[in-house]
Every structure is written in structure tokens, then in C-alpha cells.
Subunit: 349 residues, 4 copies
């Protein structure tokens, strides 16, 4: 049984583990003041062409989201997010638990548009009886696999600047977004067209770890207090620094993400050739094929994945996720198995 | 330059890293539902002789403290802690940030007594104009190296039961407490005489990780929601499970802590023979020798440590911490160096 | 210029002021322990036929909503409310500020249905990645003037009991709901078919004040602490007790609400006779007539009211609110003025 | 039985009630936008000689304290207060409930000194492991009846300015402080030497109400959102505006406070003549005489008051509070009764 349920089923890229082992007995300062965290931050700042960027490493995505949002907002300020946004859909009210409303906007492709933001702003005029929208939360790639173009990100950023909003990009799967064939974005672009974003490690080769990046010192000033107060400051900060140092050596981070995307594209194009439809356009390492339930049943004897949503009486959409750890041989075997199952089913149709 | 600044200067015990490497490509469920987390919990439940114990692994101590306390308390309820307690002294108001007052009690040895608790309860009678004390927070070993005896823990627990308080034990250095020569406590005792406690991994051989233990399901019922909501539920929960599984195989956890204590005791008895005093009785891996400032200056050319407090014009107390990673050869060298420096200084006195 | 903007444009019913004056120099205990608060609670308990009801008086509606909800919920629990519910639409994120998500449900008539609740429960199965719906918030009368029937309230209550949810009824305009011609509910019914509700004083004859009613002591146990902690415990609790004592003497509360409804109905039936439509069926003291913009412009020279929503290029819906203080002569004059303006406009149509 | 338990045992000064009655049927805007609130603010700004002051009226003191502090502080920032400060001693953790630690400083006279503040700042250097002290909370008059001189307030303000702290003065009994014989402070001084303070109405002639004053718009910018979000924005804001308008007409506020002080001073000097000691120097309307328990028992047959603290086996300190409503005849009778009881007791001594 092979699992396509998510991109965190395995441990870390072997070179990451190796780096942890090699450095293991070196004594280092705690709380992120170690040699490796500093080195990793320097590499990231160079790559994003922003010397002023303030970077902190933390252990997970929900933690990152609640840290950043609760740090940037005053009590009466609110977040705008797609209804499918992770903070709205899957984080147990983590943002509201810090005191802030999330204002959901409907979106068919997982993305937030300038128009949707304007609409929210217009609907919240009745001061002081309504919350004050102050931060726009987007994910790239999104929770349903789509990506933002450079132009889309620029447009959002300019609107946010004009309306005094923060733009925060959740990069749990940023590697997959940046290395998608359709993407015209670089890490430097993301750093340029957001106020704060994070680079996801957990889903792209690290044991754990996310790198939070603020564009300037003045909006990150007391963030170290928040890290400690919310329980996010690891005593052995080195283990995050070492991993990011390794991931951003020789472009490993991009190689791993590109590989995950390629594995997904092989599956997607194979399915397409057989005539399958998709809930959202296959772009990154998350696929949402719409399949007959009998096919799904047969597939699930050898492969694990999530049923994503019901389409009609005979069809469901499933979610298939590939990762840095998905092997070519597994994908080839899957495609073979899929052909067999799918064609078996055809006559019934 | 060797650092005695803390017990988290190195990575993890090599066997822990090895276990991470061996299991690396095994696909596992996320969020703590993996094979290794389950196995580690079974081992811990067996060792603490409590089948009903509810166990969760998280990444750090401050995180643990705020999770447990905010989960157990209603908004108007408060915590009783020694003024030296980590939650009061060194966690950036993490508990207050979840809405709860900490009521500090003075203590010369870092421990909380039944009398101190009674005094707090008596002082908080003027309902509803005062907070309602509801949880007693203690650390074992304490922040200044002392430990609780079995009888002391029993007395606290019985008082808490009688007065409907929760007893929560912070075990960031629980291994060091349990393996101290003077200790008559076992893990099973701790499980029996607290409502909730945690077993610290970060300071005793893990890369990161603490095991939270609730004595019964009924007080831990919805704690999984809290884990997720507060950003503490790691996607790759396996990395915590694997480490605890390894630490509780062949008593590794105890071996490591006992070693740290022995290294400290060698330093302490050597200092004592030379006539040094200590701020608190050397008991576990934290030592607080009172030394002439000139000795401290000389020592600090070869060793790193914290100045803990000022004693008088000519003396300070320093903090020396040993760990599982402190080698015998290092301690022997330190003792030699210390003799030389200290005796050099004597004539001046 | 006469204002129909809301039902809190005047002070208090004269007999309420008189009672405050008569009792002014009597010394009374503070914090709600006065003679009048106790007397008012006894009257209310008798009227709602529930000796066990726990009653507290506070100063406003938003305060009540945040007090009750934050008291009843654990951190990971959420509220279900109509999208038009006051807590979702007009209270500046007061509930989220206490840490809880509000899950909005669409509703055309301002009411929440059992089906809508079931749908929310079904959508929140993925524990612990989603919040746990735990409380249903409804308003009677609703924010758009509609009311719940006895059968509707029973159905909601039974569902809540079955699914372990709290049912909380916002009664800012409860008097207007209970005295509506179409209503078959009594105060005793409301007390029987909710877990907690409040009786609005501010909008029905008091200077300020709302009476919070919990059905049983066991769900209200430590609520006094919450009152004090959230700044809602008035030193001179007497001023709330005296007002409720007076409002529930000789059915004044109902007389005032019925009068407000009657004034509204006179306006509504007059408009209807002239052919006007309404956004929602006129039922209580809030009317939402749909009028030509030219009529609205002409009306607004003599009367103040809110534009509620845009209907089409030529029409808006406005909100007209009557109250205990609206005089018959004012309504008669308004109807005359309306006829004149409306008929003037007709030829243009 | 006459009560000296507090200064909120009666209703409001008759002229305040009269003003409420006279204006009762005038239609006014809600939420503090009424004629009277505006007029009262203008009067206050004129009197405090600060045109830029931002003023809001709310219903109570605990509410004020939590509103102001939670508005001004970021999550990791803390409050410095005397251990006897109302927010630390008697408000059920209201400040911690908004997420902020209160750092208590010992004080024998209820006042905070610059030295105590410096000491707290020095103790909180270990960023980011400790909270960041950011606001100094003082009360005038204090909870034990003492007052700040102009020079003391200036010194605190200049220190706060130098160390980037906010100075917040709780004026629940500000009238009594300003009209004390020993006071050399004016309202304009208070406005000049604090960042924010409040003028207590509840304890000096109003039914309820406190006036919050921020020295400048830039530190009060979004405070209106906080008012609404925390449930403090009364629909009928007029009732607060009308009362403050009346209290600050013809110096009523000062007359009432001065009267309360005079009544207290008559009692104090009478007791002194008989040889009684006091826990704190009688200065305002709160007296803390130290009396033999037998005297206290005898007094308590005719007068109600609180036992404040135990002094020795035979003596307690009691608290006696006078108010604007305490009549000369009552005080004269009390002094007579006291002489009789006290002298009766003397032979036993």
C-alpha cells in the first residue's frame, strides 16, 4: 500500500539528516542564535535580494500563521482569506483564538482577487460597529493546488499598500509554487511583493520547520517576544537552522519541489490521456482528479489518498499528493495500475 | 572554550539520530497517528503503570506549559507558582497571554509548599472580586536544581485533591530529578501524584520534544483541539514519537540524566573540597557555586557559563549546567583548571 | 425632524425615572446585592415559572453576548449564527476577541433552522483540524424584525439538547417579539426552550440594562467571576435592579413593547394600502419598506431613518423603527405626510 | 443602621437625576454622538486646558482599566502597579484576561515611585524571555486613601516619557484626591502629566459613569473600536453625557468630593483627639482607623463598614468611607456614638 495522502509521510531528505548528524556535537547557542541559523538567514537574504529582511525559523505552519497574524494586528483588526484558506478551513480557529475574525471570501480557484478585497473593505464601513480589515492572507500554492502569477501578486501587493493592508503569503508549499512550469515568480519576487511570507520546510524535505520572512525590520521589531510568548522559540534552534541551511545549499529546496511537481504531472497527464477530468487544473504537487467511485474503490486497494468531495452519484474527486520522496518507479507503477483499473471499468460505463 | 551554559548546546543522542535515519523512508500517518508515537506512548504507560494515561508529544517546554494551563483553566481561574517558576520568571508572560494570572509565592529553594498554597487560597476569598486559584505549577527538578521527595509530592497532591486544584509538574528536567542520588521518586510516582506532568526530551537527549501526560481521559478530553489550535500539532508527529520511543528503550532516558548528574556531582564535590559554597545544595545537573569574581573572570577565559546573581562586592554565584553530552574528560580537565585558578587566587584572599 | 432611526433615541419610561428618584437615598449593597435587584429577579423567576433560573443584570447587549458566549465555551468551541446575527454583523468581532469563531449560516429571514445547524455540524467532522460548534445564537425578534414561533424554538432546543449544543437567545427586542400579534410564545416558553437568553431593557423603556437568564445553576456557576472580570459588574447594581423591578411591575414591559409594535403596524398597513412592498414581513417594531428613491428623499426632509439596502436603480429599502416613546400623533402625522409624498410621486411613475 | 462601607451606596446627586428627567424625551443620537456627551467633553477639555484631549464615557472602573490597558499594549507588554492597585488586588484578573501580566511592586502607602519603576525595568532585561514593561498604573486617590503631589506626578511622568512607558492614572476617586486639603494638583495638571487617565463619576455623584481622557489623538486613534468590541459602548450614551455635563456644571463634581472629604476629616480628627491611630494618614474620604476589637463590635451594631486588616490580637483596622451623600447630621451622630463607645471601652484597656 503506497500513500499519496500528503507530502509529510516520510522523514527528511537524507542530506538534511546527514547534516544534523555531522554537526551534532558542536556546541551552539540556543534560541536561534546558533551558527547555522545565522548562515541560513544570510543565504535566504541573498537569494531574495533583501538585506533588510528579518527571518525567524519555527516548527510548523499553523504556528506560523497565528504568530504572524496575532503579531501584526491590533485587537479590532481582521483578516481577509479565501474560504478555502488553511487558516479558515483547517486550523481549529487558531486565528480567532488570538482574538481576530477571519472574513472569508468565496473563490473557485483558491485565490484571492483585488476585487474581492475591495468588496470586503466596502462592506466594513460602519465604524466602530464592524471589524477593520487589515491583513490579506493568501497561500501559494493554494490549498487546492493553484498558483499566483507575478502579475497577480503585484496587483494584490499594490492594492494592499494603497489601502494600508498587510499582505501575508502562506508558503507551506512555496517550493511547489515557484517551480511549477506555469510559474513566473521567484523567491525574490515573493519577498518584494508581500509584507511577510513563509517558506515551508515541513512539506519539502525538512523534518520540520518554516522560515518566516518580514520584508523590513520596522514591522518585525518585537516579534522575538511573540515567538517566546507563544511557545515557538525552540531551545535547540540549531535544528531548524541546520535544515534550512542545507535546503538552500545547491538549490536543494527547488530540486525537491520540482521533483514533486514532475511526479504529479506524470500522473495528471496520464489520467488526462485516459479522459479524466480534474476539479482544479493540475499545476503543482496536488491533484484533484474526478473519478468514478468504482475506480476509486479499486485504486484504494493499493493506494491511500483522501476523498476530497462528492461530484455526483457516480463520481467523487480525490486528492493525490506527491512529494520530494515520491519515486519515479512508484509513479510508473501507479500509472500502469491506473490504466488497468480505469479500462476495466470503462465497459461498465 | 567549552560551554556549561545549558543542557541544550548539542544536538541529540546519536542513537536518536540513528533511529530517525533508519525509519526515514517509512511512510507514516501525520499528526501523531504514526506507529512510533503509538509505540512510545505504550512504553510510557507501561512504565508509569497507568493504562488510562493520555499522552501527547509536543515540541517545547513553554509550549507545553501554555497548552496545559490554558486547556485546564476557565477564564477566571489562576495558577499558583513559585516566584522562580519558569512560567513566572522566563516565559514572556505566556500564561497571562492565554488570559490567566500567575500568583507568585516566595520560596527559597524553588519549591512550593502546602502552606504556601493554603495561604494563597485564604487570601483569595473575596469572590467574585479576585481570581480563583485552580492549578498549582511545580517543576522537578526546579529551576534552581532542587528536587521534590515522594512525601512532598504526595502532600501537594493530597492538598490539591482536597481543595479541587490541579497539580501540574513541569518535567523539563524530570530525568535529572528522578535519577538524583537523593531522589526517592519514580516515574510511576509522578504519574500517581500529579494530575498532569511532562517528561522533558529537549534537555535530555532529544533534538526536541516533550511528552505531556494526563492521568485520566476525562481531564484530557478535548486536548487534541488545543494542540492544533495553539500550533503545537506537528505534521510529522513521527519525529517526536521516534525520539521518545528511542529514549525509553533500554532506559536510555535515565542513563543520560544520571550521567549528567554524575558529571555535575564530580564538579560540585571537587569545588566543595576546595572550600566553595553553593547558593543551593548541589543535587542535579544544575550547580550554583558562589565564587570570587576574580576566579569567575579567570574561569571564563576557558569556559562559558551564566552569572546567576550577585552575592557581595567580591562574589557572584554562577550557574554551571552539565548534560548527557558532557564528557568525563571535559569534567576532569575542568576540575584541574579550576584547582589551578582557585589556588592561584587564594593568596590574594 | 422626527427620528425613526432606532428604539434608543429617548431616555427611559417616566415611571422608571421616577422609581430611581424615589429610591435614590436609600442605602443599598453594591454589585447587584441590593433589595431591588433581588426583588426584580424574584418577579422574573415567577413569571418564567422557573425557580432555578440564575439572573444577572448588565448594561448592554454586546456586553451580554460576549459575556455569555465566552463563559459557556471552551477555547476550541464555536458559535453558529445567522449571517445577519448581531454578533456577526455589528459587534466589531466581540466574540472572536474572546477567542471563538462564529460560523455564519445564510438565512433569508434572519432565523436559524435545525437544517442549517445540522449542515454546520456535518461540515465540522475533521477533528481536531476544525473548531467544534457548541452554541447556537439566535435573536428574537431578529435583526430584520422577524420572530420565532413556539414550535420553531422547541425544534431548535430539542436539536441542541440532542447534539449537546447550547441554545442562546438574544432578546435585545424580546418584548417586541413576545407581544407581536403573530407570536405564540411566552416568557416562560423562552425560559423553557433555551439554555440562556436575555431580556432587553435598553430598547424597551430602560435607561440601560439587560437581564441575563440561565435556565439552571449548574451552567451559571462561576458566571459572577466573568461579570467582574469583563468589567460588567456595576458598583451601583441597584440602578439595573430598580429599572427591571419597575418594568416587570404591572406588565409595563409588555405594554411598552406592544405599543411600539402597534405604532409600526399602523405605518405598515398604511404603506401597504398605498401599494408598498416590504423586504421582510412587518411583524414587530422594525419595518423595512421598499420605496422609490424620490419618495425616500422627500420623506427624509421631515423624518430620520436608515437606508437599509439597495433594491434597484429606482428603489431602496429603508429601516423604520418605532418604540415605546413613539406617540400616536407622530404616527398619524407620518402617515399623512407619507400619503402626500407618495401620491405626489405616483404620476411620475 | 448607617453604612460607611463605600461611596456607592446611594443613587445619584438629585440634580443629576433631574437633568436626566428634563432631557428624557429629547431624541438624541446613540453611541455617544448625542448633544450632551459633546457638551460634556467640551467642558472637560476647557477645564483641563487641552483641546486635543480625546474623551470617552463608559460605565465602570474595571471596564475602563481593561479597555485602556488592552488598547495601549501589544501582547508581550506588561503593566507595573502597586500590589494594592485595584487592577492587581480587586478586579478578578481583568487585565490578565486581556493577555497582559501585571508586575506588582510593594508599596506601603499605595503609591508607585520612580525608583520602583526603575527596579522593575532593570529586572526585565533578558529579552525575549521576559515581558516588556510598558505601562505604569497608578490611582489617585489610591486604594488606601493617599494622594500624589504635583511633584510626584511630574516625576513619574518624566520617567515614563524618558523610558517610553505610558502613565495611566485611575481616577475612580479623582475628585476626592483633587479636593483634599493637602493636594496641590488640578485637573489640568493630571491631564498634563499622564498619557491617559479617567475621571470617576460612579463614586462621586453619578448613577454610573467614568470619563476616559487620552492626552492626544494619536494614542487614542482606534479606541472607538475597542469600546464597541469590549461591550462598553452604550446605545444610550446620552445618559453618561448628561451626567458628566451636570457634574461639571458649576463645579458640582468638586463640591461633592470636597464634602465627602470634609465628612471624613471630621471623623478622623475626632478619632485622633480620642487617641486613635490610623493605618494610613487620613487624607481623603477613605479612613483606616486602628481600633480595639471590642470597639469595632460595639460600633458595628449601629454602623456598617469593612474590617480591613488585622493588626494584633486586640486590634483591627477598619475602613470607613464617606461620600457626597453623607450628611453632616450623620457624622455628628457617629462622632457622638463613637465617643460613648470608645470611652466606655477605655477602662477595660
Amino acid at each position: 500500500m503506497y500513500s499519496f495522502k500528503n507530502d509529510y509521510s516520510e522523514g527528511a531528505h537524507p542530506s538534511v539528516l546527514e547534516k544534523l548528524a555531522i554537526t551534532n556535537f558542536q556546541q551552539e547557542n540556543g534560541y536561534g542564535e546558533d551558527t547555522y541559523s545565522r548562515a541560513a538567514k544570510d543565504k535566504l537574504r541573498a537569494e531574495m535580494q533583501n538585506d533588510e529582511a528579518v527571518i525567524h525559523f519555527v516548527s510548523g505552519g499553523t504556528q506560523t500563521n497565528l504568530l504572524v497574524i496575532s503579531y501584526l494586528l491590533r485587537p479590532h483588526e481582521a483578516v481577509i482569506s479565501a474560504q478555502t484558506g488553511h487558516i479558515y478551513a483547517n486550523e481549529t480557529g487558531a486565528i480567532e483564538a488570538t482574538g481576530h475574525r477571519i472574513i472569508p471570501v468565496l473563490s473557485t480557484n483558491g485565490k484571492v482577487t483585488p476585487e474581492a478585497i475591495e468588496e470586503v473593505l466596502n462592506a466594513h464601513y460602519l465604524r466602530p460597529h464592524v471589524v477593520k480589515p487589515k491583513l490579506v492572507y493568501i497561500s501559494n500554492s493554494t490549498e487546492i493546488g493553484s498558483i499566483y502569477t507575478r502579475e497577480e501578486l503585484q496587483a494584490l501587493y499594490h492594492l494592499c499598500e494603497a489601502r494600508q493592508l498587510f499582505l501575508f503569503l502562506d508558503g507551506a508549499r512555496l517550493g511547489h509554487a515557484l517551480t511549477a512550469t506555469e510559474s513566473n515568480l521567484t523567491l525574490a519576487d515573493v519577498a518584494k511583493y508581500t509584507h511577510v511570507f513563509y517558506i515551508g520546510g515541513t512539506k519539502n524535505g525538512a523534518l520540520l520547520g518554516e522560515a518566516i520572512v518580514f520584508r523590513r525590520q520596522d514591522i518585525a521589531q518585537d516579534f522575538d517576544y511573540s515567538l517566546k510568548q507563544k511557545g515557538a522559540l525552540l531551545a535547540k534552534g540549531r535544528i531548524l537552522g541546520i535544515q534550512f541551511d542545507q535546503l538552500f545549499t545547491d538549490n536543494l529546496y527547488y530540486h525537491l519541489a520540482r521533483h514533486a511537481n514532475e511526479m504529479a504531472m506524470q500522473i495528471a497527464s496520464h489520467m488526462r490521456q485516459l479522459g479524466c477530468d480534474f476539479l482544479t487544473v493540475p499545476t503543482t504537487n496536488q491533484l484533484f482528479p474526478i473519478l468514478p467511485k468504482v475506480v476509486i474503490d479499486a485504486l484504494s486497494e493499493s493506494y491511500a489518498f483522501y476523498i476530497w468531495s462528492n461530484i455526483d452519484e457516480q463520481h467523487d474527486a480525490i486528492r493525490i499528493i506527491t512529494s520530494w520522496a515520491t519515486q519515479q518507479s512508484t509513479v510508473s507503477q501507479f500509472n500502469k495500475d491506473f490504466t488497468r483499473i480505469y479500462e476495466n471499468y470503462l465497459p461498465i460505463r
